[in-house]
């Protein structure tokens, strides 16, 4: 099985979907000739031409709007926001139009658009190149938000997102692009949107997280295993709508739950996860639900030391996990 980086898995999924379905096309800033600032669409322009890989102006609301229109018309657009931070001008299109179409038209219209955007910090990107924006969209029924944690998941979930008949926001951690490598099968496969995935079985504590933090939690779990602390790790994969069943099962398994996100703590996705657990698992809880998240400050700092303070890393996760295990 070939080993791929996270970003190679993105490119592979895009390429295979474009080969499979001619309705699939890509639009975004610098996605064509340049192949994307991260090289996520590298080579696609050459293979599929300028009609299917569209370089757009620097206008995110247009990228989203054009994509939504095309999707309603029956195409399968994959729109790229160069950085998740830049998605803000497109929020009206995404929330007011894409998310509402099926409901507003009484099922007559659908909007099968996928919007990809690299999110997350730890790459010295500072204010406008480091943010986590998922919480902005995570109370908009009609949207689905997918945040994969491994190259394998990227390929399976991105394909699923493209084939989904409703709008999917697909957030990729930019630090994961070249940091994470893993086996990715050559064959065509999709992973279910809306389902979480157990990344590690364990009996002492449960860690529920998503995106790059899954990797941190796995690293921490390996270290803690040497101390005899056996962690159960659930990767949410889809963070909206949440896989309640899996969350409840994972929380009940150990009764000690740590929730991790790189987003600012207050109002983040994991607050909702905590609510689900407290609604359903009170009598299985053996410790207060713990949250490890970024601080509630407006943006990622630029200074390396400050960025380190903001960012989740394996050490912080390990410490929080040990703390909970010892409770």
């Amino acid at each position: 099985m070939p080993v791929m980086s996270y970003i190679q898995a993105v490119t592979t999924a895009l390429k295979e979907e474009m080969q499979r379905d001619e309705n699939v096309f890509i639009l975004g800033e610098d996605v064509g000739k340049k192949g994307g600032v991260f090289r996520a669409t590298d080579g696609l322009y050459d293979e599929f031409g300028d009609a299917r890989v569209l370089d757009t102006p620097l206008a995110e609301s247009a990228i989203a709007g054009v994509g939504i229109g095309a999707a309603m018309y029956g195409k399968r657009p994959v729109a790229e926001m160069q950085f998740a931070d830049f998605i803000m001008p497109a929020v009206n299109q995404i929330i007011s139009e894409a998310a509402r179409i099926r409901y507003r038209s009484n099922n007559d219209w659908t909007c099968p658009i996928t919007i990809r955007a690299p999110y997350g910090g730890g790459v010295h990107g500072a204010l406008y190149h480091s943010q986590s924006v998922e919480a902005v969209f995570a109370n908009q029924p009609g949207l689905k938000i997918v945040m994969p944690s491994t190259p394998y998941d990227v390929k399976g979930l991105l394909k699923a997102a493209i084939r989904d008949n409703d709008p999917v926001l697909f957030f990729e951690h930019k630090r994961a692009y070249r940091l994470l490598k893993g086996d990715v099968p050559e064959e065509d496969y999709v992973l279910p949107i809306g389902k979480a995935d157990v990344k590690r079985e364990g009996t002492d504590i449960t860690v529920i997280t998503y995106g790059l933090c899954v990797n941190f939690a796995l690293q921490a779990a390996e270290k803690l295993a040497e101390e005899g602390i056996d962690a159960h790790i659930l990767d949410l994969r889809t963070i909206y709508p949440l896989d309640q069943e899996a969350i409840i099962e994972a929380a009940k398994k150990t009764g000690k739950v740590l929730l991790v996100t790189e987003d600012n703590k207050e109002g983040s996705i994991i607050g909702e996860v905590a609510a689900i657990i407290s609604e359903h698992c009170l009598f299985d809880l053996d410790a207060p639900i713990q949250r490890l998240a970024g601080p509630d400050i407006p943006a990622m700092p630029y200074a390396p030391t400050m960025e380190k303070f903001f960012m989740i890393n394996p050490d912080k996760v390990e410490k929080a996990m040990r703390d909970l295990a010892e409770f």
Binding site: D204, G255, A287, F327
Partner: protein, 423 residues
């Protein structure tokens, strides 16, 4: 690691020595804190000596058959953490509220009684006494895993199961052990509510009641007694009595007398549950309940069977006075073998008492009321009273209690001017 000693504990008031009848552990055994390590006979009771530490038995110093003074070395235990220790001799000091304060001596145990919802649910579902579960969490907190381990070990008869199997005398040191049940549900006071801290006597009452109700399987029985003649008798002599003696001759004294007399004939009711055996007490020491504001005392009329009605009346008077003036001594409260509760004084005509642990039964003497009763197919106005007995069904059954109550009834109904002397 540290080596700790386990000494012969004070197994009861005025007990100065004990004889080791059986060692329940051997060198190398892992014991948890409160696990029984030896059976000890004293002149009063047979009891299990609980381990004061969690650790490994290193050396057994005293042999079976040895008689040791209180405080004498029994064995050595190697414990992992020496800060979390407690001298065995003071855990059984005789004032209950003092032992209360020694429950959490080490800071490591600060979380011992903070139970998570999961721990509470599991312990309730599996009837586990959390007091006997060793906490591996921070501050000694019992984790869900700890309880699951106990459950897994349950089939092998882990001591944490079902505290009713424990000898009451061992639990004497551990009246405290039932306290945590109060913390089951976190209750929040609303605006305007008054919060009264539970401490002192209130807490002791609460603990004892919880222990009684959770440990003792209660059963109830009530008889109706015609005390018309007794009432006549008392009314006839009460004024003179008051004048002569300086205190009142209450109905209650007659009831206590009757119960003491019946107990003599039915010693089964004058006994104590001791786990693997039942101890019938020779002495008849009757506890009576005396209420004072929000406090409830249960002082003891010693050797009630040897006292006259007057003597009993005097004891009741003295004890009640002491209770109301806060002068009851520990000795006044100790040694009761059966309780008579004067619920009638509150106007109650029927109630179900909670047995005063570790006694076998409690008798509620209800209000005397004039009621129409059919005698020889004719209505008659009679002074009637209900006597309600709560019994420990482990020790007693309906048959013996029925007979006992019948006997009490017979004695009371036979009390009259001619047959009964007050002095």
């Amino acid at each position: 690691m540290a080596m700790e000693k386990i000494n012969m504990p004070q197994l009861g008031e005025s007990v100065t020595e004990g004889t080791i009848s059986t060692w329940l552990v051997k060198v190398g055994d892992q014991v948890n804190k409160y696990d029984p390590i030896a059976e000890v006979m004293t002149d009063k009771v047979n009891a299990e000596v609980p381990s004061s530490y969690s650790g490994v038995i290193q050396e057994i110093v005293a042999q079976e058959g040895d008689t040791l003074e209180v405080g004498a070395l029994m064995c050595y235990v190697e414990v992992a953490d020496s800060t979390n220790t407690q001298d065995s001799s003071h855990s059984s000091s005789d004032k209950v509220n003092e032992t209360h304060e020694s429950v959490d001596p080490a800071q490591e145990q600060s979380m011992k009684k903070r139970y998570s919802p999961a721990v509470l649910r599991l312990s309730q579902e599996h009837d586990i006494n959390l007091e006997h579960v060793e906490g591996s969490g921070r501050g000694g907190r019992i984790t869900r895993k700890d309880v699951e381990k106990v459950i897994a070990a349950g089939e092998r008869g882990h001591n944490a199961f079902s505290q009713s199997e424990k000898a009451p005398e061992t639990n004497k040191t551990a009246a405290k052990q039932t306290a945590p049940q109060h913390e089951r549900v976190q209750q929040e006071a609303q605006a305007g509510d008054i919060e009264i801290p539970v401490k002192g006597v209130r807490k002791m009452i609460a603990d004892n009641m919880v222990q009684s109700k959770t440990e003792i399987p209660h059963a109830w029985m009530t008889v109706e007694v015609d005390v018309t003649d007794l009432a006549k008798l008392r009314n006839k002599v009460k004024d003179d009595f008051k004048q002569n003696e300086g205190y009142s001759l209450t109905y209650f004294a007659f009831f206590v007398k009757a119960v003491a007399q019946a107990l003599k004939e039915y010693p089964a009711l004058n006994s104590t549950w001791a786990g693997d055996r039942i101890i019938q007490k020779k002495d008849i020491h009757l506890s009576i309940a005396v209420a004072k504001d929000d406090e409830l005392f249960v002082p003891v009329i010693k050797h009630a069977d040897e006292k006259t009605i007057k003597g009993i009346a005097r004891s009741i008077h003295d004890l009640a006075l002491k209770a109301r003036t806060g002068k009851l001594t520990a000795d006044d409260m100790q040694g009761g073998t059966f309780t008579v509760n004067n619920t009638g004084s509150f106007g109650s005509i029927s109630s179900m008492g909670v047995i005063n642990h570790p006694q076998a039964a409690i008798l509620q003497v209800e209000s005397i009321v004039k009621r129409p009763v059919i005698i020889n197919d004719m209505f008659a106005a009679r002074d009637m009273v209900n006597l309600s007995l709560s019994l420990d069904h482990r020790i007693l059954d309906g048959l013996v209690c029925g007979r006992f109550l019948a006997r009490v009834k017979q004695i009371l109904e036979g009390m009259n001017d001619e047959t009964t002397s007050i002095y």
